[in-house]
């Protein structure tokens, strides 16, 4: 039974490695935070799995409970950051508006969407 648990843990770690692609190469910040959210949930499962392998679940379960309660604070913080600071549309640049497409977003999105606070108006 333990070898089965170890196999399960290694499979979950491989899936986390695949999700890390979305975190590192995601076009926008919101894709990245989605990947981090998924990785956090998998971490909760993996901690309990490690505890079962070590036969000390009652020690490890507090960490997992803490993760289950705390994991989504980061997600909500970044989501609030982009909910409250909505884009202002510059109506002069109609040409560039029409050229918006997912491929253009992937090329330049990581540089532009990640930077915050730069063009805020200074009063």
């Amino acid at each position: 039974m333990e070898h089965f648990f170890i196999g399960m843990g290694v499979s979950i770690l491989f899936l986390m490695l695949c999700n890390l692609y979305r975190v590192v190469a995601g076009p926008t910040v919101i894709d990245r935070i989605l990947g981090v959210n998924v990785i956090g949930i998998k971490t909760t499962v993996l901690i309990i799995l490690l505890g079962t392998i070590d036969r000390r679940v009652e020690m490890y379960i507090d960490i997992a409970l803490g993760y289950a309660l705390l994991n989504f604070i980061t997600t909500i913080a970044v989501a609030r950051f982009y909910q409250r600071i909505a884009p202002t549309v510059n109506s002069d640049k109609k040409e560039s508006l029409h050229s918006a497409s997912p491929s253009a977003l992937i090329d330049e999105g990581a540089a532009v969407a990640g930077s915050a606070g730069g063009k805020g108006e200074i009063k």
């Binding site: 009652e58 020690m59 507090d62 960490i63 409970l65 803490g66 309660l69 705390l70 604070i73 909500i76 913080a77 609030r80 950051f81 909910q83 409250r84 600071i85 909505a86 202002t88 606070g117 805020g120 108006e121 200074i122 009063k123």
Partner: protein
């Protein structure tokens, strides 16, 4: 200049990697760290302090000076952040963001926060007071308790959270935690023992020396927890609002 810096970086990496060869293995029983002090702590810890979790005993009893000044450092960090950022009137050079109205669109977030925040606070108290028997202690419990106020401020607004936990109250909690810690040490000193020698509490509480050390650890952890909780909330208030406490993240 850049390739030169890379060569230096590579050489430093090679030197550090060669130095790791001399380090002892993981879980090596013959390593210097586990031959001098650790056997003493592991063998004597439970008989001297009645605390099954050795980490808590070492942190709050054998090395309590260290923990005292750690909490003082955390307290000083919050004071410095407040000193640098806090301003009462709205300044002239502050970055103003355009924020859309969000009436009635936060209902799901607020419902989830209402169901999670009480459990989070109870869990924080459990972690704080169960630190003798399971992983956890003052620092972890304080951080989780502070995170509950951060979650309240995120899901509602900064003003709403500051009505519940006022700024003056935050500062009072900051100072009171560190004062509780140092006060216990002073009581021990007044009873004729060393500073932070918890056996001095035995006469006051009417218990044996071993149980007095256990109760002393508990009181000290509560002080650390109060300080850390208030410091986390204070850091969030100052940093998220840019110093004028008007709108948060």
């Amino acid at each position: 200049m850049k390739p030169f810096a890379r060569i230096i970086l590579f050489l430093c990496a090679v030197m550090m990697l060669t130095a790791t060869v001399d380090l002892p293995d993981w879980a090596d029983p013959g390593s210097p760290a586990s031959t001098h002090l650790s056997p003493g702590f592991i063998e004597q810890g439970y008989h001297e302090t009645a605390t099954p979790n050795v980490v808590t005993a070492v942190l709050a009893d054998y090395r309590s000076y260290d923990t005292l000044f750690e909490s003082v450092v955390v307290f000083a960090a919050s004071l410095v952040v407040m000193l640098v950022l806090r301003r009462t009137s709205t300044g002239t050079s502050r970055i103003k963001h355009f924020r859309p109205k969000r009436e009635g669109r936060d209902t799901i977030l607020r419902g989830a926060a209402q169901s999670i925040i009480p459990v989070m606070q109870i869990f924080a108290l459990y972690v704080l007071f169960h630190g003798h028997y399971s992983p956890g202690g003052g620092f972890q419990g304080g951080v989780i308790f502070g995170a509950s106020f951060i979650l309240l401020s995120l899901c509602y607004s900064l003003k709403f959270a500051m009505q519940r936990f006022k700024e003056k109250m935050v500062l009072i909690c900051c100072a009171c935690g560190a004062l509780l810690y140092a006060g216990i040490g002073a009581v021990c000193l007044a009873m004729g023992w060393n500073f932070l020698g918890y056996a001095g509490l035995a006469g006051l509480l009417g218990v044996t020396d071993v149980m007095a050390r256990s109760h002393g650890i508990l009181a000290v952890e509560a002080g650390v927890g109060i300080t850390v909780m208030a410091v986390m909330v204070s850091l969030y208030y100052d940093l998220a609002s840019g110093g004028d406490m008007e709108e948060g993240l």
